[in-house]
């Protein structure tokens, strides 16, 4: 009797947490470690930059006293470890310091420019997904034929294009010569400020305000850069889809399905494709994260006021706080999307549990 009641207690002692909780905690721990490392890297970059942060504030003609005062105020006389903890403390409170260029807190600036990047990247990944997945399936099904070869060349070309150059060529052709789309920027100048900025995304704001003229003008500006980013992610998505599909199509259950007399359409979409959906979610999430990177150069070409332009403009004018703040934010989003794709994988794929 005694032994029966004590046994579960002993079991509990050896494992104080249930397995899922421990797993959850280790995941949280490794995410926290990665984020800490990310902040450490940006901190180190900030310290080795050949820009004197004090001079940037007080100006070149300041007296030694005011220089020392600001030096002390910024905590630069403290040991590096202490400085890092100050930095960590500030970042955890969403404080990246003030931007030299705009003289506003960097966090406010980023909140202002980020929706533009999101609008661009979202439409880009949607285009990439809706074209890339069918193309990947098609080339896997018609493996080795001219269809496969054409798609393969198309994706290789996408991998090999300098995206900023492609953007310029797109502008030259569709804006400069054909005049089909709007030029650089998010709206024509007459349309600016017509709808109140609620979400910061022009298309959504225009829809909320019910102003279709602004919507279509914004769309004509957005479609070209978004298509370019879409092509960029299409290359990756269709390649991955192809290799996933090939793996499934060579499996034995496909032969069984064919032997049973199912139509080719049912075999491909009902059986094989159904099994790669989980992997595709991960791929799409990853390419969404990658578009944040691809958008840096695209934003510059199209004068798109997003986070990529923000970081580069800040970089060229030695605005250190803005550069590091932007880098941290992009890095954090990148990590979060990676975690999200991992999580989705675990939710949708019973085997991953």
């Amino acid at each position: 009797m005694v032994s029966v009641t004590s046994q579960p207690e002993e079991g509990r002692k050896s494992a104080p947490f249930p397995a899922w909780l421990r797993k959850f905690l280790t995941t949280c721990g490794s995410i926290a470690a990665t984020m800490l490392g990310l902040l450490l890297v940006t901190f180190v970059i900030g310290r080795v930059m050949p820009i004197d942060p004090v001079l940037a504030i007080v100006g070149e003609r300041a007296s030694q006293e005011s220089y020392d005062a600001v030096y002390h105020q910024l905590g630069l006389d403290k040991p590096l470890m202490v400085q890092f903890f100050y930095y960590l403390w500030d970042v955890l409170h969403g404080d990246f310091g003030n931007s030299l260029l705009t003289a506003r807190p960097v966090s406010q600036d980023i909140a202002r420019v980020f929706p533009a990047t999101m609008e661009l990247a979202t439409l880009g990944v949607v285009i990439g997904m809706f074209l890339g997945i069918p193309m990947g399936v098609l080339s896997a099904v018609h493996r080795g034929t001219w269809i496969d070869q054409t798609i393969r060349v198309l994706t290789l070309v996408g991998y090999s294009m300098p995206i900023f150059w492609l953007g310029m060529m797109g502008l030259l052709l569709f804006y400069g010569i054909l005049g089909w789309v709007g030029g650089p920027g998010r709206l024509d100048i007459f349309f600016e400020g017509l709808v109140p900025s609620v979400t910061g995304m022009v298309l959504v704001d225009a829809l909320l305000a019910g102003d279709m003229d602004v919507f279509w003008n914004g769309f004509s500006h957005l479609i070209l850069p978004a298509s370019l980013l879409g092509y960029y992610s299409l290359a990756y998505i269709s390649r991955m889809t192809r290799s996933f599909m090939l793996e499934q199509l060579s499996a034995e259950y496909i032969t069984t399905a064919r032997v049973k007399g199912l139509s080719e359409r049912q075999v491909i979409w009902g059986h094989a494709f159904k099994n790669i959906r989980v992997q595709l979610v991960t791929v799409v999430a990853l390419s969404y994260a990658n578009l944040l990177e691809g958008s840096v150069l695209t934003e510059i070409i199209f004068s798109w006021p997003g986070i990529g332009s923000y970081i580069t403009t800040a970089l060229l004018s030695a605005d250190m706080n803005a550069v590091l703040g932007g880098t941290v934010v992009v890095g954090l989003i990148f990590i979060c999307l990676n975690i999200l794709s991992d999580l989705l994988y675990k939710i949708f794929d019973p085997r991953a549990k």
Partner: protein, 304 residues
Amino acid sequence: MSEQTLKQWLLSDAPTSRMQARVAGLYQGWLRLTSNWMTLTGLIILTALVLVAVCAPLLAPHDPFEQDLLNRLKPIGYDDHYLGTDSLGRDILSRLIYGSRITLYIVALVTLIAPVVGLLVGTVAGYLGGWTDQILMRTTDVFLAFPRLVLALAFVAALGPGIENAVLAISLTAWPPYARMARAETLTIRSSDFIAAIRLQGAGPLRIITRHIWPLCISSLIVRVTLDMAGIILAAAGLGFLGLGAQPPSPEWGAMISEGRRFILDHWWVATIPGLAIFTVSLAFNLLGDGLRDVLDPKDGGHG
């Protein structure tokens, strides 16, 4: 007749010497590599690039730095400027030819740094395990967590613009995938019998890693580097375009595009031509990398 026997010797199923086996293996790999027209195209383009870079002074019709302000922005085929002139009247073709040297220089430097660092980190982490592994792999994760271009931007901001710093920044962002790959391979190699046998003979970790693990990691590393090379060229061009890579008047292709950007609507060729060059070279690396993967790494990806 002698060629026929050489071929037979190379394709023999029963090599009589170690040398013959090795040469035959290389030859058969070569045959497989060149049997695909896409791979062959990539190889030819890259060979041509190397030749152009080596013979640049012989091939270039003009001095790439010589300005001729009377002949600014001349179109393709004007006089003896086959690809026109840029905003300072410099011959675009000559700049393109000299620019191939910079591209190769970047490729060579990054190839010397990133895979070596990755191999070192990955094999040490995989072989030693424990805390060393934890620390090294966490560091790798941190670097993987950044979008590459953004991290490279931040590094260049810290180091200052310039071609060497751009190379360093790109290398710093390029090594983590190699480290991961090398670690995974090391983990499988570490537990094999032949490593145990070498250890029994008294070999230390240094000898095992450098003499017995590295050679086995090399082939997949080469494939990966070739496939990544296109991305590296694009990243270098992107940095050059932003004015953070090679500095003027250097004829770096990305910087040339950025220069031509101002005139894109009226003088399209100034920006278009260097872009085509970047595209061709990076496509060639992609084609070659694809083919190499099929030859060296048959388990990963089939023949298209």
